[in-house]
């Protein structure tokens, strides 16, 4: 055997071993962690029930339904549009495991981009997962996903992404961004089909209010804010005032009419729902962040962002206390409660009354793990 063949054989074996180790880690990311049904969940339905084209695809996802004992309006909470924004997903999980609907119907999608949860973004150094300790000492672990659909499920990206309904052009990597694909289409990409499924669900169920949960980098201008479609502005204004009474400062932004493909624009235009999107502050997805690990995801403490704040570079207050996950989830959940309250006041014939939703102060005092149920 030639000398170079000996080294080639050794290197090939090492290469296959590296592929095996990396591949096992990537495949582990596809396992779906359990979400425990709380007392208020009356049904769990697949999104493909509203658009059969999603059945059997990686974009099909669970929709948790809470039907109240009393009739009323309906509200949809969309979590996990971007799986690298943990407060979005965790807010949906806490609703599923704790909330009940007394009047009206609540729909919760925890993994709106289910494919995005099956991988992570290269070159970001993000942790694979984060964990919470429950009061009984057990642990619940959730993966830190990607902003976009898994390229294994949708590939290749075009050089330029053209939003089908408007012709708007964006960077090619937005092709896999769920929040650029609305209202979606049946002959489009997997991401656009998922958008279509959600839009169809809103149409079919005549959902009155749709809330899309997000997080943003501290240097991003739209942060700690509600972005509202023009028809949703009156109710969103009431929510801003309600949150101020709870000492939660939040901005209110109108949905730009020329920024297409996002929930707050397209769901409001394509359906009768009142469409809003909410953002909290997540330093673990920012460009100025320091070491990106589980602690940063959960505590939101980052010395680089403290420095950036002192230099006036941020759009959100940032001190040594950071923005812990309890604060971020608490903001989302409190706002959801305020939206339900405002809906009931504005549309008394379509009340939405929720109970059991963890409160902002309770989350801060007890920690998020106190509101998770033990998984079997």
């Amino acid at each position: 055997m030639q000398k170079n063949h000996i080294s080639a054989a050794i290197i090939s074996i090492l290469t296959l071993a590296a592929c095996a180790v990396a591949g096992a880690s990537f495949l582990e990311h596809r396992k779906v962690e359990p979400i425990v049904r709380g007392p208020g969940v009356t049904e769990v339905v697949k999104l493909s029930a509203w658009y059969a084209g999603l059945a059997g695809t990686p974009a099909d996802t669970d929709v948790y339904v809470f039907r109240g004992q009393n009739p009323g309006g309906s509200m949809l909470v969309i979590g996990g549009t971007h799986p690298n924004e943990p407060s979005s997903f965790l807010s949906a999980v806490l609703l599923i495991e704790n909330a009940s609907a007394e009047s009206g119907t609540l729909y919760v999608i925890p993994r709106a981009n289910a494919s995005g949860f099956t991988h992570n973004d290269p070159q970001e150094g993000a942790p694979l997962a984060y964990s919470f300790t429950l009061p009984d000492g057990s642990k619940r672990t959730f993966r830190y996903g990607s902003r976009a659909t898994n390229p294994v499920h949708q590939w290749p990206d075009t050089d330029v992404y053209v939003h089908a309904a408007s012709g708007q052009t964006l960077s090619g990597n937005e092709t896999r961004n769920l929040n650029r694909g609305y209202p979606g289409r049946t002959d489009g990409t997997l991401t656009e089909k998922a958008c279509y499924g959600i839009t169809e669900m809103i149409r079919a169920e005549k959902i009155d209010l749709s809330i899309d949960l997000h997080e943003a980098s501290p240097e991003y201008p739209v942060i700690n804010a509600i972005v509202a479609h023009e028809r949703a502005m009156p109710i969103a204004s009431q929510v801003v005032l309600g949150l101020e009474f709870s000492d939660i400062t939040i901005g209110l932004e109108p949905s730009p009419k020329n920024l297409r493909g996002l929930t707050h624009r397209e769901l409001g235009d394509a359906t009768d729902t009142l469409a809003v999107l909410m953002e909290t502050a997540n330093p673990s997805q920012g460009r100025l962040r320091s070491r990106t690990d589980e602690a940063l995801v959960l505590t939101g403490k980052d010395p680089y962002y403290v420095k950036a704040q002192k230099l006036g570079r941020l759009y959100v207050p940032f001190d040594e206390k950071g923005h812990p996950i309890e604060e971020r989830v608490g903001r989302h959940l409190t706002a959801i409660g305020e939206f339900a309250f405002a809906m009931s006041g504005e549309y008394p014939d379509r009340p939405i009354e929720l109970s059991g939703v963890p409160g902002y102060d309770d989350l801060g005092a007890k920690g998020l793990g106190a509101f998770l149920r033990t998984a079997d």
Partner: protein
């Protein structure tokens, strides 16, 4: 389109493997190996 791109990735993977086995310098063989890892993971639809 996806099938076409997978075909391209498989072809480049084959060329990279050929380079690894014909190259005399072990450092260049190692370089070829590093190129092959993401190609192999994509061809197998793992990453």
């Amino acid at each position: 389109m996806k099938i076409l791109y997978l075909g391209i990735a498989a072809a480049i993977l084959a060329l990279t493997a050929w380079n690894l086995w014909t190259e005399k310098d072990w450092r260049k063989q190692a370089t070829a190996a590093m190129v092959a890892i993401p190609l192999l993971l994509r061809v197998l639809l793992i990453k």
